[in-house]
């Protein structure tokens, strides 16, 4: 008994430390990068880096919720593009019926929600595989985006939106503030609410949670809805060049999944935190950023990213297997 207790505390401490591994990895990368390039640790570059990854952070937070339940959402990139295009179209004052901003945003959110609710319903109540359902939604949403935009970019002329995309408070871009707020919300929900508790528990053992009298299907459906709503914000943030474009966010789902995984989330569900997912996004973004600064060609960059993902998961391998 004594031995056991002792071993437990050592094991606990190790586990507690390992929990912050992604934070440590990011710090190490920051140090290495600032040594590699003196342009790295400048206010301008850091905010560039954050701005470029704001959309990914937002979408990754939704992805994390889905992954925590043991699911996956491949449709995020397409739903974000769909949002980008729909939002721009609804605001387009070249047409007679340009809508006021709040209404346009609301309708765009509803459009995304339709995708999320449909995916969630099929996964939660029809017990279809999340991979298959969201793969179909990924194809369909991108198709709808092209249909709405006729494969053209739609300029966003709304003043407020443009201020949002380009402006900043004390040099912090609005989009970064939005991403930060969403991150804080998700972190709070996961840590301090019963909703977050159930989402994690479902991913660990849906059966046991259901047999404890909890409406698990409702919770599963909800994470796809949340994910799709966050895609709207992700899509709008990603339209930062001031146009709605059906081509944006291509491959965003892979970045979001990679961020969760680098942050230690388990694809079988139940494991992962908002903070570490944020670290995952920043690790990926930072690697891209430093390689761009060092003028590494784009294709080798992809290879290096791939290696990093595997390395990150290997580092955490022990923990996930326990």
């Amino acid at each position: 008994m004594m031995e056991n207790a002792k071993r437990n505390t050592v094991w606990d401490t190790m586990d507690n430390l390992r929990q912050y591994l992604p934070v440590a990895v990011l710090l190490v990368l920051v140090i290495i990068s600032s040594l590699l390039s003196k342009n790295f640790l400048t206010v301008q570059n850091i905010f560039n880096l954050l701005r470029q990854n704001a959309g990914t952070v937002i979408v990754s937070m939704g992805m994390l919720l889905v992954i925590l339940t043991g699911g996956i959402d491949l449709s995020v990139g397409s739903v974000a593009a769909f949002s980008s295009v729909l939002f721009a179209t609804l605001l387009d004052n070249r047409q007679a019926a340009a809508l006021p901003l709040p209404l346009a945003l609301l309708l765009t959110l509803l459009g995304s929600l339709a995708f999320g609710a449909l995916c969630g319903y099929l996964v939660a109540y029809k017990k279809m595989a999340a991979f298959v359902v969201t793969l179909a939604a990924m194809t369909a949403a991108r198709g709808v985006a092209y249909m709405i935009s006729h494969a053209k970019t739609i300029p966003i002329t709304n003043e407020v939106v443009n201020v949002f995309s380009k402006g900043n408070v004390l040099k912090v871009p609005y989009s970064v503030i939005l991403a930060l707020l969403i991150f804080l919300c998700v972190a709070f929900v996961l840590r301090f609410t019963s909703y977050g508790r159930f989402v994690q528990a479902i991913g660990s053992n849906e059966n046991a949670v259901r047999l404890s009298g909890i409406r698990t299907s409702m919770f599963v459906l909800s994470v796809y809805v949340v994910s799709s709503l966050l895609c709207t914000f992700g899509g709008i943030v990603e339209s930062r060049t001031g146009v709605g474009d059906a081509r944006v966010c291509e491959g965003l789902e892979l970045d979001a999944i990679a961020a969760c995984v680098i942050g230690g989330a388990s694809l079988s569900g139940g494991k992962g935190t908002a903070l570490n997912t944020l670290m995952g996004v920043l690790i990926l973004g930072l690697i891209g950023n430093i390689m761009a600064l060092k003028k590494v060609a784009p294709y080798p960059q992809q290879v290096i990213k791939g290696v990093i993902i595997i390395a990150a998961v290997l580092l955490q391998g022990k923990r996930n297997k326990d």
Partner: protein, 496 residues
């Protein structure tokens, strides 16, 4: 040592994650005998046999087969040394033919299957066992009893001299059991040594020659069956007098609480019974008898096809576990690891699962201090041996894990407690504690529906018993009528 042993296992030790499953076990098997290996769930029987078959590597000890030291450690080595094992859960590929399953590791040369030779060889093995089954049939299409025969054939096909059968009759009808015993006797006559794991005293005393009894990873008795009685075997199994195992209950059954009529669903039909306040009603049935499906349908975990359920005189239409819980039902499921607990999460998180509102504000924000207080209260109330409520529940022993499952329901409120094999894989001390909790709840007026495949437990704990088989109710017995004989008679009764 006058006799030449087929198997000598001495001082066998095996631990899993620090928990000792075998603490220096000695086990001797004679050539051509049927040797009963008995013990409660978790006593170490299966672990010991897995060491013998090579599925587990032992931590310490020595195994000799026919006097020669046997280096086991992989199932393949076990097979080469002539050990065949049939597990409780079959390990057959449903979509392959019987022949392929039997000779799965010798399908042909150089990866090319010689079908004709394969079928002939497999057929010979099946015939040798006294059965006439076409080995070209797919395993998915044959009955459970035949699957068992295929498993035995598979175990014997490698010229096994030692055959281990792990609770083979749990899934068999009495006729099939009888046939199995004939096969076992025939194999014994051919010199095969059989280890027979079972809970059923009657079967053991009718077919076995010798017995080894285990409890908590140790051997508590061994010898010719003639020197034992069923009661003495059971008392060695549980480590105490039968009379002190099941604490007396003061509660007397009161008003009607749960009434079920004509209930049908997946794997069962036309089930009816009444549960009263303060009553412990047992459901006895074999594995696959529909017993679990019945209670799952009542709780709302599975859909039901027909029938009526009344709770305290009001008809209910429960369609999900959530509704079941709200109507005052609670379920301790059959398999705590897969259905009862979120193993990766902490003890306190598991304990507040059923009633998260009790530890959160109206808007769903958790109050961690309340949650911890609740966990500590329940840990004390059920005397769960847990260091810290924030430790993962998987670090607890089986008995303590089961107490956590009970605790999570105690945090909520219920009138009817359904317990599906509540003491499976639980050590004797924790068992008695679980029985005490049941008695306390009954005294408070809770009605308890308990499924069990352990006859002693059913007889010791229940006020009445319903026997089910093949999804049908075979009869009911009152407390006075309860005995191993009367229960098994009802199970058999239905077959004629």
């Amino acid at each position: 040592m006058g006799q030449a042993y087929r198997v000598q296992m001495q001082g066998i030790q095996k631990a899993f994650a620090g928990i000792k499953a075998l603490r220096g076990v000695d086990f001797f098997l004679l050539p051509g005998e049927i040797h009963a290996l008995v013990g409660e769930n978790g006593a170490g029987k299966s672990t010991l046999m897995k060491v013998l078959s090579g599925a587990y590597a032992m931590d310490a000890g020595e195994v000799r087969i026919d006097g020669k030291p046997a280096l086991l450690g992989t199932p393949r080595r076990g097979k080469e040394l002539g050990v065949g094992i049939v597990y409780q859960e079959f390990e057959l590929a449903d979509d392959l033919t019987i022949a392929e399953n039997i000779l799965i590791d010798r399908l042909g040369r150089h990866g090319i299957v010689h079908w004709k030779a394969l079928f002939a060889k497999a057929q010979a093995v099946i015939h040798g066992l006294g059965f006439d089954i076409d080995v070209r049939s797919l395993v998915r299409d044959i009955s459970v009893a035949y699957k068992q025969v295929v498993e035995i054939a598979k175990a014997l096909s490698a010229d096994a001299k030692i055959l281990i059968l792990d609770e083979p009759t749990a899934v068999l009808t009495p006729t099939e059991t009888h046939k199995l015993f004939e096969t076992m006797r025939a194999l014994k006559a051919q010199g095969v040594s059989i280890v027979y794991i079972s809970h059923r005293m009657e079967e053991i005393f009718s077919v076995c020659d010798r017995v080894t009894i285990m409890r908590d990873g140790e051997v508590t008795g061994s010898g010719p069956l003639a020197s034992f009685t069923p009661d003495s075997v059971v008392e060695l199994m549980i480590g105490r007098k039968l009379s002190t195992m099941y604490p007396p209950r003061n509660a007397r059954p009161g008003a009607e609480l749960l009434r079920v009529e004509g209930l049908s669903g997946r794997a069962f039909s036309d089930i009816g019974f009444t549960l009263h306040k303060g009553e412990v009603l047992g459901i006895f049935g074999l594995v696959g008898s529909g017993r679990t499906e019945i209670v799952r349908a009542i709780f709302g975990a599975d859909a039901r096809k027909g029938g009526k359920v009344w709770l305290s005189g009001r008809e209910t239409h429960i369609r999900s576990p959530h509704q079941g819980m709200r109507q005052g039902l609670a379920l301790i499921p059959e398999n705590r690891k897969e259905q009862g607990l979120v193993l990766d999460q902490s003890i306190s998180r598991n304990m507040s699962l059923c009633n998260i509102r009790r530890v959160s504000q109206p808007r769903g924000i958790l109050r961690r201090r309340k949650e911890r207080a609740l966990a500590e209260e329940l840990i004390a109330r059920l005397s769960v041996k847990a260091g810290n409520p924030i430790n993962p529940v998987k670090t607890l022993s089986g008995g303590n894990q089961q107490k956590v499952v009970i605790a999570k329901w105690l945090a909520a409120s219920f009138q009817v407690l359904i317990m599906d094999e509540p003491t499976r894989g639980v050590d004797v001390g924790a068992k008695v504690e679980i029985y005490q909790i049941m008695n306390q709840l009954a005294a408070q007026g809770v009605g308890i529906l308990m499924i069990s495949s352990e006859l002693n437990e059913i007889i010791g704990m229940c006020d009445a018993v319903m026997v089910v088989d093949k999804g049908r109710k075979m009869g009911a017995l009152s407390k006075e009528e309860l005995s191993e004989k009367s229960i098994m008679k009802l199970v058999v009764g239905g077959k004629q």
